[in-house]
Amino acid sequence: MSEKVTLGKLSTGVPGLDVLLGGGLTEFSFTLIAGAPGSGKTTLAHQIMFALAQPERRALFFTVLGEPPLKMLRYQQQFSFFDMDKLGPSIRYVNLADDLRAGDFSGVLERIMREVEDFSPGLVFVDSFRSVAQTGRNGNEGLWDLQHFIQELGSRMAMWQASTFLIGEYTPADVEANPIITVADGMIALSHNQDGDAVVRKLRVVKMRGQAHLSGSHTMRITDDGLRVYPRLLPSMPDTFRVAHRDACRISTGVAGLDELLHGGLPQGHTLLASGPTGIGKTILGTRFLQAGADAGEKGVAIYFEKHTARLRNAELIQLVNAGHVTVMESRSLSLSIEELMDELLDTIARTGATRVVIDSLSEIALYLAPEFRHDLRLTVFRTLALLAERGVSVLVTAGFEDNQPDLRFSFDNLCFLADAVLTMRFAEIEGRLCKFMTVVKARGIAHSNELRSYSITEKGIEVDPFPAPYDRVLSGYPVARTQHK
């Protein structure tokens, strides 16, 4: 049996943060929460405090010269985690502003100790610690005072078995923070990165003694529920993926001819990428996919990145929405993070019980994304599809690109590699008409037709010819009628 000390882990109550910390926050640790004004430090501290505080593990929150306490209480109670019942028995606020005026660290330390002895907290917060540090003397004496103060505070709090958080307007590169970073067991840095006109919030665990934490910057959001961190990890693979399904359940795509090309429909839970130029029928295919789901009693979610009028003129879709079969998601933000998009999508899937999702289209999604996510659209799509696969929903994604025949490509940005099945839809000129053709390029795990079929868009939807197109070089855009002997 190991005689090494076991570090207790505290769950922070901040979704995603425990994963970054390597399982949670180490008990009795001394952590610096650092970041620029407005980066969410006080909110993070409050969220952790309200998650952990209870009569057996009380929390003392020292306010200093930062945000006035009245305003802090005014704004923090807007978050859902702010539990008023915890104020008093489990949480006490103490204002240190008057003690700091003397500019003497030892006086502040004594005041903190008096309050700690009186309340016996398991959690101690000092916000903002930079205010404390700046009231010290200038020069080396001040630096020594500060380091001594921090060491004293750290060791006394550890003796009291209190997990302590210092909140300060520091960045990891801030020289002034060095003494604190040196002494602290952990450091969580918050930032808001501006790229173009968009701002994306980030959280980074700079250090966390005694446990392996996840390095790097991770996107975070602040919502009515507080902070949420999105570790840069793919979702875990569901158990169903570990079992070989030789006869995967098939679902109808809503287009009989396409189901035939897929030899019985799309395997349930797969992603079909339908690509092709404008006007080729991708949106109609999406609507038919949802309609087929509704006919089978399935709920659907549609995410549209096309302009609103395109959707409003889609009578079939409006009927599906009005009947409650389909929920439409559309963003008005032009600085979306992939995390916001996934949050809303997963919430909608969970709320509606949807088993089908249509994303229309990947070519316009970039218009809505913040630059960081736009620049790496492939990663954005990869993460989205991985998450949907984990949920087991069947997905139809469309991707439009300009026809540049005879260039034989099936998507842009190599997106076709991310889908389980790829349907390419192309125009070709035949006898003075612009005709439409489709073929299944790939379909993982199932046999499928390799025929090029001509199809039409009629009032019935997409009608696919039952036989292969009697032309050669269709994909070149300039087909040639196939002669009989061929």
């Binding site: 306490p69 009245l70 209480l73 109670q77 008023m84 204002n95 008057d98």
Partner: protein
């Protein structure tokens, strides 16, 4: 400077002597002391002083004998001034002014931190008051 500030009477020694402390003033101010004891740790002396000063200013037109002295910065000096003011009038006037002051102070606080948190803080303060009164009655 507010015109009513001219009426402010400076406190000679922070707290009036027992000789000029009619019996009705201390109990009224005790409630405020309890409240400040609850609020000052939470919102600081500055926060309490700002709220109290604003409330006093709003009530003062109806009670011109309430003094406003800008040199009073701490809750202790503010409440000592209030006690002196209450002592300078009869208990009916003092009670009415106190009620109006508490009403306005509560509304001000409620507007900032919400009625739920305000009610909670006031209830805790009131409970402490009642507990102390009971203890005193028990001793008597």
């Amino acid at each position: 400077m507010d015109k009513h500030d001219n009426r402010a009477r400076p406190l000679v020694a922070g707290t009036p002597s027992d000789a000029v402390r009619p019996g009705h003033a201390p109990p009224l101010v005790h409630a405020w002391l309890r409240l400040s004891g609850r609020l000052v740790p939470l919102i600081g002396e500055n926060g309490f002083g700002a709220l109290f000063g604003r409330s006093l200013r709003l009530v003062a037109p109806n009670y011109p004998w309430l003094s406003m002295d800008l040199s009073r910065k701490t809750s202790a000096t503010l409440l000592a001034g209030l006690e002196a003011d209450f002592a300078s009038v009869d208990d009916g006037d003092a009670g009415n002014a106190n009620e109006a002051l508490i009403g306005i102070f509560t509304r001000q606080l409620g507007a900032l931190i919400g009625p739920a948190l305000t009610t909670r803080l006031l209830a805790e303060s009131k409970a402490e008051n009642e507990q102390q009164q009971n203890q005193q009655e028990h001793k008597e």
